[in-house]
Point group: C2
Chain length 320, copies 2
């Protein structure tokens, strides 16, 4: 006998409901009821993964569960919010126990790390489409918006860029890499690490922030558009992993600037904060200054270390 909706909820979802004190009513009623600690506001974001669009059809359910939460947590990181609860809208063709167990395993791997509790959602039959809404705490009037960048700000990115894009090209047999790089590249594609601690640290430092989901140019583009500024990026400073560094330079740069799916943070900070930013960087989370916010009008200008204009093609992932 196939699993019923209620079996699925009881067996796979309920264990992910941590029943924390701030949740008065979790999974199992018409709605969840949550309380906010005094002085806190709520950051909420929702991201969807569609089979065959956001991940290859043969992706392991563990990786899907992990990535679903990771991409949502990345939005919390970009706001500087502390993750609290998630709700899940899971649409799947059949209630397959193995798939569900794997999916929730991957979800819980990451949820445990950040004490994220699953407090509700909806289960439907249909083509595999998964939406997660994430909720996080923000102290009153805090939160890094895309609209806060100021002329003269330094532009920082965390980690390295282009790895997930390269992994996808390797999977699709469009590019080849030394096999030694594959585990790390696939880790970057399937199990991106949301920069939660970085976001919380920078909440009081950065003028603006965004997570790099559609590619640096597209996402930095949102910052300069919403902040009514421009930007100069020194392409020689873009942080690349060893795998990327071994590619043809133009190819590597295009991946790093336009491929997306890396879920690193792009932050802008006042120039006089440089020392304290550099202190914040760790081996696990390097921070690289790649450019500067300028006056509005010219969009994002790409230059090499000698100040010569750099051209690349493509402008980031288009959803339509």
């Amino acid at each position: 006998m196939p699993l019923s909706e209620f079996d699925v909820i009881r067996k796979y979802f309920k264990p992910a409901d941590r029943q924390t004190a701030d949740v008065r009513c979790g999974i199992g009623d018409d709605a969840a009821i949550v309380r906010l600690p005094e002085g806190m506001e709520l950051a909420i974001a929702m991201d969807t993964l569609v089979a065959g669009v956001h991940f290859p059809l043969d992706t392991a359910p563990e990786d899907i569960g992990f990535k679903l939460l990771a991409v949502n947590l990345s939005d919390m990181a970009a706001m500087g919010a502390k993750p609290a609860w998630a709700t899940l809208a899971l649409t799947l063709p059949e209630a397959d126990s193995d798939w569900l167990a794997g999916f929730m395993q991957g979800f819980n791997d990451l949820a445990g790390q950040y004490s994220v509790s699953l407090i509700g959602g909806d289960l439907s039959r249909g083509p595999l489409t998964i939406s997660l809404q994430i909720h996080g705490y923000l102290p009153q009037n805090k939160g890094m918006l895309r609209s806060g960048a100021r002329e003269g700000d330094l532009i920082y990115v965390s980690g390295t860029l282009g790895d997930a894009g390269l992994a996808l090209k390797v999977l699709n047999r469009e590019l080849e890499v030394d096999p030694k790089y594959k585990p790390l590249l696939f880790q970057r594609l399937n199990r991106p690490e949301p920069r939660i601690e970085l976001g919380e640290t920078f909440r009081d430092i950065a003028h603006s922030a965004i997570d790099i989901s559609d590619g640096l140019l597209a996402d930095l583009g949102h910052i300069i558009e919403d902040s009514h500024v421009g930007a100069v990026v020194n392409t020689d400073l873009i942080p690349l992993s060893e795998a990327l560094a071994e590619l043809d330079t133009a190819e590597a740069l295009q991946l790093a600037l336009t491929a997306g799916d890396d879920y690193e943070l792009c932050l802008t900070v006042a120039e006089d904060m440089q020392a304290s930013v550099d202190q914040t960087a760790t081996e696990q989370c390097p921070l690289t200054c790649i450019g500067k916010i300028t006056s509005p009008g010219k969009g994002i200008q790409l230059e090499d270390a000698d100040g010569r204009a750099v051209r690349i093609s493509g402008v980031g992932y288009r959803h339509f």
Copy 2:
């Protein structure tokens, strides 16, 4: 040139962001940021509609937009919460302007009625699947749970039951009705009326509540299971519309008890509240006492007016 993701957000979603004072950051950043008025808790629910599963493929986009919000608002009604904000995860095969305009028209028809603001979400390409998360206010420690029913409670339902189920059977040519009933029946199927005011009124009166989405037997079943009680329902008292009343009695009863998709409320209240409940009923929102909460052990017993056991087949919509 097809619409880009950002065109769609700007043209169709942004106008539904009412920019109310409790929303510090709405559509357009990595996350929305909301504030809760003092003394309030937050009720959150998420419901998904999948094309071909939750609505026929040729359903008008206006009706899909309306129903998506309606089924979510119905969860707020069932908790007694006052709706505030929604987030939308819209996955659709292509960014079709006419479809999007119609969909948002239907959404806004209902959102305007309850001042619901669209504050964020995600737009993806894929098979038509739409998840909405709704957020509503609840005063501290209020909210009608499924677990609060007590032995001796009277069981009430709002409106009439089985209309949406009959409409679907008419659409599928499994049943015929007098054409004069069709507009009302299709209205019930496509534009269900969430019982928001009723929920807010009963928040201080009812011991338990649920909205009838999967059929009365299935949904009342959740109440008796979560409350550890039983129930007796007098099938002669089930409120039926004229269209249902003209059907064969067994057929009408089966639709009313098992078809679901009506989004009426089922409430249980202490017996001594009967007079005040009856005063609450209006022509637009009749309330009918259909039975009583009993001691646990026998599930839901169906009886006719003479106390004879009534049998029906089917137990409500199964999602898997």
